[in-house]
């Protein structure tokens, strides 16, 4: 294993491509990667026969770096195949780690998605409500499409994952650390403990340089368009919802530097079972707590109602790994 060139595969599932750009952010260090590794797939193209990936023997690929969520049957098949062919499998980016923003599709049903995309959008002209078919004969040619599940999952919900690199996209520090790990692996065959998450063990607040109040209490919640945020003070103290307290750090609180709130892309803190519920808990505990005596139940409800979209605010990136990860249907 010593000083042998690594075989690295880079693959994406349901993703936006930002993770690929995040790898290019290595800039000149890309050449260092090229020195220690042969990129065998980046990206691999597979038709539904998968014979190209099949060419690899079990565990022949040293590292598979995967971004994107699992959104259809094809994704799932390839994920399983890559797992079998790889010694190390890494979930890179928030979609692979937690489902990411495309995971919000779990708040809807497949039928709703189709209805809106292919019929209700105002520019769509589709009187017969044609929808994409998994198998379709076009002028005697048969065409196939992978099945759209209508819900998304994180990578580890489908295959075993060795390491996690959260972030949307992962911060450059994480990618550089990953490069160091790969170098170490190439040189000595050494790897960090399984399950390692590349990021901080503390929250985003811990990295945020804003002044924070000793005792937190919010008497009114503001939406970001309503109020000028003081760039020096904690946004939560100013009544603006910021995911900092419930989110893993390691990003240097970059969004806060742009005077925008944290939206939770690094995922839950270590040991937290559910990022959204944790944030809900933290936020609810400080709303109007100082004015308790003066508040009627009505007043209180009014203040809390300013949290107009708890699911979208607290689970922006992590709904598929939430305890309740998909929209439930009550029999009504």
């Amino acid at each position: 294993m010593k000083n042998k060139k690594l075989k690295i595969a880079i693959y994406w599932f349901g993703s936006c491509g930002g993770c690929e750009v995040a790898l290019v952010e290595l800039n000149e260090k890309i050449l260092e990667l090229a020195e220690i590794a042969d990129i065998v797939l980046w990206p691999v193209a597979l038709d539904f026969k998968y014979e190209d990936l099949e060419k690899f023997k079990a565990q022949e690929i040293d590292i598979s770096l995967i971004n994107g969520c699992i959104a259809n049957f094809e994704n799932e098949q390839i994920a399983k195949m890559l797992r079998e062919k790889s010694k190390v499998l890494i979930a890179y980016g928030s979609c692979a780690c937690f489902g990411g923003i495309p995971g919000l599709v779990n708040l809807a049903t497949k039928e709703e998605v189709y209805k809106i995309a292919y019929s209700e959008t105002p520019s769509t002209i589709n009187p017969k409500f044609t929808t994409p078919q998994q198998s379709y004969k076009a002028d005697a040619h048969e065409l196939e499409l992978p099945e759209f599940y209508g819900y998304s999952r994180a990578l580890h919900q489908v295959v075993e994952v060795d390491y996690f690199v959260p972030g949307c996209a992962p911060p450059i520090e994480s990618t550089e650390k990953l490069l160091e790990i790969a170098k170490e692996f190439a040189a000595k065959g050494a790897l960090p403990p399984k399950g390692t998450v590349i990021g901080s063990e503390k929250s985003v607040c811990d990295e945020c340089e804003r002044e924070k109040a000793e005792k937190k209490s919010i008497s009114k919640i503001y939406r970001i368009y309503e109020k000028e945020a003081d760039p020096k003070k904690c946004l939560l103290d100013q009544g603006i919802i910021c995911m900092g307290p419930a989110t893993r750090g390691g990003c240097k609180a970059r969004c806060l530097n742009a005077n925008q709130p944290c939206i939770g892309c690094m995922g839950a803190l270590p040991e937290a079972l559910d990022q959204g519920a944790k944030m809900l808990s933290a936020l609810a505990s400080i709303i109007g707590i100082e004015e308790e005596k003066a508040l009627s139940e009505e007043d209180l409800k009014k203040i809390i109602d300013k949290v107009a979209d708890p699911a979208g605010s607290f689970y922006k990136f992590s709904l598929p790994v939430g305890i309740i990860s998909r929209k439930h249907t009550e029999k009504k």
């Binding site: 937290a272 959204g276 809900l280 808990s281 308790e292 809390i304 708890p310 309740i324 439930h328 009550e330």
Partner: protein, 137 residues
Amino acid sequence: MASVDKFEPKILAFLCNWCAYAGADLAGVSRMQYPPNIRAIRVMCSARVDPVFVLEALKRGADGVFIGACHPGDCHYQTGNYKTVRRVILMRKLLEQLGVDGKRLRLEFISASEGKKFASAVEDFVKELRELGPFKK
């Protein structure tokens, strides 16, 4: 399809040590009748009930979650139950977004002397959940 077996909801209850738990105890020693659908967990304060517990309970097969807290102003720790009130309001909103009927989460203020209130609250909750049906199909 009328089923012969009446659906019996499973309820997980988190009861505050200083009030609702004692109230439930009182209902027991006073031989009050109330449905046996409840499994109680004693917590030191209703504020110990993390929203994570509510979600996890539903996921693991509870059809409803019951939180028994002190009356406003009576919290042994000053503001614990105020936090609970806020969490429950927001939690219900979240549950509705997740497609879960908010009625599956119930908050009741029950003092140590209100055994009767505890018994009737459980009875009422069971009735409500029977109408809703099981959480897991």
